[in-house]
């Protein structure tokens, strides 16, 4: 029965799409390398694009208009589908199995990287060579020194803090994890429904929890994968980091339910005013401005916290990926190449409120980013502390993305918190799981 259900899920998911928008239009002249599609036999070529659903509505509106215009200009049918990032992987797996993948997707880079191993993605080196991407952008798109993705935008996580609560207790804004921990013990008030921090630890396949745990491990000097691709996670530095993170749950400084949160859990808790500190993308600001301007005024975005060896966080971002078995891959390449047209790209970034950091050299040199009142400008500063992608300092590869998506580091902390496992034992298990995944002895 369950097997049948799974087969049905695969079949149905492969055939379904959400919020799709097909459109076709009259021919238009084009001087680009890809000629307008021939309509002599009456059927037009089609370009299918699955874009990520973005909390900032302007993004999907602008992208939809762009795709429709692209269809008109090239005399092709287009299908623009908005897919929630949480559902994207399952839908893609089903579509690939049904031999009906989209031509192009926008996804978080750890998700897209997982389709390299199964040889689903088109080599994008030609596009990468054509466009002047920043080093940070290249870093999120590279896998084993090859390019199978094209950077779309960087999406960094910032620290959001309830300044009013910290002020109430006359506490300075924390700059280190240790300081946050000390402050948390003071501002924590669970009896009145308020927790000092909203740290995620759920294994939903999202990024927030794993990125946070890995950041802290690095900031404590731990190295999960070294530059020679060895699993070196089992060290006293990593052990200290795991023990430190676990204290937030063991001492009740973060909501207990956060061990089952998905990536929306911390947003919801912060927006509900029940936690005083979260690490998140700018979607929190968007929601606060729209739904709770009072709380927005009490909120500040501060620099990332440092550990004993300073700040360090992984660069993640949105990438384009083209599927080999899509029927309109040439249109996908053309669409990407034209996507970075200066006016459109800058406007897109600004309309999203600066939540996306541009990936093209020179695009940060605009009045929007130079405006001293632009809170989003803080994201640019953060790009300075980016230390690399998921495997850092190990070489970036699809296994690193898989380890990240499987949230092995998160589960190591969860075992200490939930199962009360001895930290060293949990670390030993993490090492064993990583070695098994990376094929090491």
């Amino acid at each position: 029965m369950m097997a049948l259900a799974l087969a049905a899920v695969l079949l149905l998911a492969g055939c379904s799409s959400s919020k799709s928008n097909s459109s076709s239009s009259s021919p238009a002249a084009s001087n680009n390398e890809t000629k307008p599609a021939d309509t002599s036999n009456g059927s037009k070529e089609k370009f299918v694009f699955w874009d990520k659903g973005e909390a900032a509505e302007a993004y999907n509106k602008l992208m939809k208009a762009r795709v429709e215009q692209f269809g008109k200009d090239n005399n092709i049918d287009v299908e623009y589908v908005v897919v929630s990032q949480n559902d994207l992987k399952a839908k893609l797996l089903a579509a690939i199995e049904a031999k009906n993948p989209p031509d192009l997707i926008v996804a978080n880079d750890p998700v897209a990287k997982q389709f390299i191993e199964s040889d689903q993605l088109v080599d994008t080196s030609d596009i990468m060579n054509k466009i002047d991407f920043t080093d940070a952008a290249k870093n999120i798109a590279v896998t084993s020194d090859k390019f199978f993705m094209v950077p779309h935008s960087l999406q960094l996580n910032g620290v959001f803090l309830r300044k009013d609560i910290w002020d109430q207790h006359k506490l300075p804004i924390p700059t280190t994890w240790q300081q946050l921990y000390e402050d948390a013990k003071i501002v924590n008030d669970p009896k009145n429904g308020f927790y000092a921090t909203g740290l995620p630890l759920g294994a939903s396949g999202g990024n927030d929890a794993e990125n946070m745990v890995r950041d802290v491990i690095r900031e404590y000097g731990g190295v999960i994968i070294d530059k020679d691709n060895n699993v070196t996670v089992n060290s006293k530095e990593t052990l200290e980091a795991l023990k430190f993170i676990a204290k937030f749950w063991q001492e009740g400084l973060t909501p207990p339910a956060s061990v089952t949160w998905d990536d929306n859990g911390n947003n919801k808790a912060y927006l509900a005013g029940t936690v005083g500190f979260v690490i998140n993308s700018a979607s929190i600001y968007d929601s606060l401005k729209k739904d709770n301007p009072d709380l927005e005024k009490k909120t500040i975005m501060v620099s990332r916290l440092g550990g004993p060896i300073g700040e360090s966080f992984v660069a993640t971002g949105n990438v384009f990926a083209i599927f080999k078995n899509g029927k309109g891959t040439k249109w996908a390449k053309k669409f990407i190449t034209e996507f970075y047209e200066k006016d459109f790209y800058n406007n897109l970034i600004e309309q999203v409120g600066g939540k996306y950091v541009p990936v093209i050299n020179g695009t940060m040199d605009t009045p929007f980013w130079k405006d001293p009142n632009n809170k989003a400008a803080g994201w640019l500063d953060m790009t300075k502390s980016i230390k690399g992608s998921g495997n850092y300092p190990g070489p970036e590869d699809d296994l690193g993305s898989k380890a990240q998506t499987m949230q092995l580091a998160t589960k190591a902390v969860a075992r200490i918190v939930v199962e009360k496992m001895d930290p060293q034992k949990s670390l030993d298990q993490l090492e064993q799981e990583l070695k098994q995944l990376y094929g090491k002895k």
């Binding site: 097997a3 049948l4 799974l6 079949l11 199995e97 429904g193 207990p256 998506t405 499987m406």
Partner: protein, 281 residues
């Protein structure tokens, strides 16, 4: 001639159910991952999952989830069915209210319960704290010793109307003269319940319990949407674990082995149900 007429139906059933089923069983013996052709690996997947403690933890949870949910639904459902079978003012309204959990979409119910269970802004903790029943919020979905109970409660709430109305249908077929005769003979209410009511609707009870056991064993959305099977598989059941292995780990062969491993249990339940139905017919 009769068998000939059955052929079109048999073909349709075979194509719609038989082919995917056989294919799924075959894939459970392969190293199938999405986008790559499967290679036959014999019992490799089964050996892997049977040696994995997480699988046994999930299977144990599934048994607790199923037995716990079905038992409570049976007892509470029977009691409520007897109550709403009595004549009282507003009976129609009460019956309608009892039907609501069944009528609501599973997704809506699960998301609503998730909100209610939340330990920071959920209404369950808020009320318990206001009434001074607890001084600190209970971690309904994140305490490993409570998470499974929390989803069982939702499953009971959601499935109860099916029991109540199935039993109610059975109760309405009982001849009232049997109770009158029993009263004359001196039998009390409890004796009447166990000697008349239960035997009279035993067939309905059996079928309801068997069908509900199969549905509960296969349920997915309540657990997936409320706890995601967490924390650390504390509330995971076979269906959510199958999904996790398939779509988060992209191990389709292993995932189908997880699903396939419980087929014997389900087949037994189905055969038992069919025999029961056949006997009662």
């Amino acid at each position: 001639m009769g068998y000939g007429l059955l052929i079109p139906v048999a073909v349709i059933v075979f194509v719609i159910i038989g082919v995917p089923f056989i294919n799924s069983i075959y894939l459970s013996f392969t190293n199938k991952v999405v986008g790559v052709d499967p290679k036959f690996i014999g019992f490799g997947n089964y050996a892997h999952i049977f040696s994995d403690p997480e699988y046994w933890k999930v299977l144990k949870n599934t048994v607790y989830f199923t037995v716990g949910s079905v038992s409570f639904k049976l007892v509470i459902g029977l009691l409520l069915a007897v109550v709403v079978n009595q004549a009282f003012f507003g009976r129609g309204f009460v019956r309608a209210i009892l039907l609501v959990p069944w009528a609501l979409s599973g997704m809506v119910s699960a998301i609503t319960w998730r909100w209610m269970y939340d330990d920071t802004y959920g209404i369950v903790n808020a009320l318990l704290m206001r009434w001074h029943v607890i001084s600190l919020p209970i971690a309904w979905t994140s305490d490993p010793s409570i998470a499974l109970i929390s989803v069982i409660i939702v499953n009971i709430w959601k499935g109860l109307p099916f029991y109540i109305f199935s039993f109610l249908g059975g109760l309405q077929t009982i001849d009232s003269q049997m109770y009158e005769a029993a009263t004359i003979d001196g039998a009390g209410k409890i004796r009447q319940f166990f000697s008349i009511t239960i035997p009279s609707i035993s067939t309905v009870i059996s079928i309801t319990v068997l069908l509900s056991t199969i549905w509960t064993f296969n349920s997915f959305e309540i657990v997936y949407l409320i706890t995601g099977g967490g924390p650390l598989h504390a509330s995971a059941i076979i269906s959510t674990y199958t999904y996790e292995v398939a779509f988060l780990q992209n191990q389709m062969g292993q995932s189908l082995a997880v699903a396939g491993s419980v087929i014997p249990i389900l087949v037994l339940l189905i055969v038992f149900s069919m025999r029961k139905l056949g006997k009662d017919d």
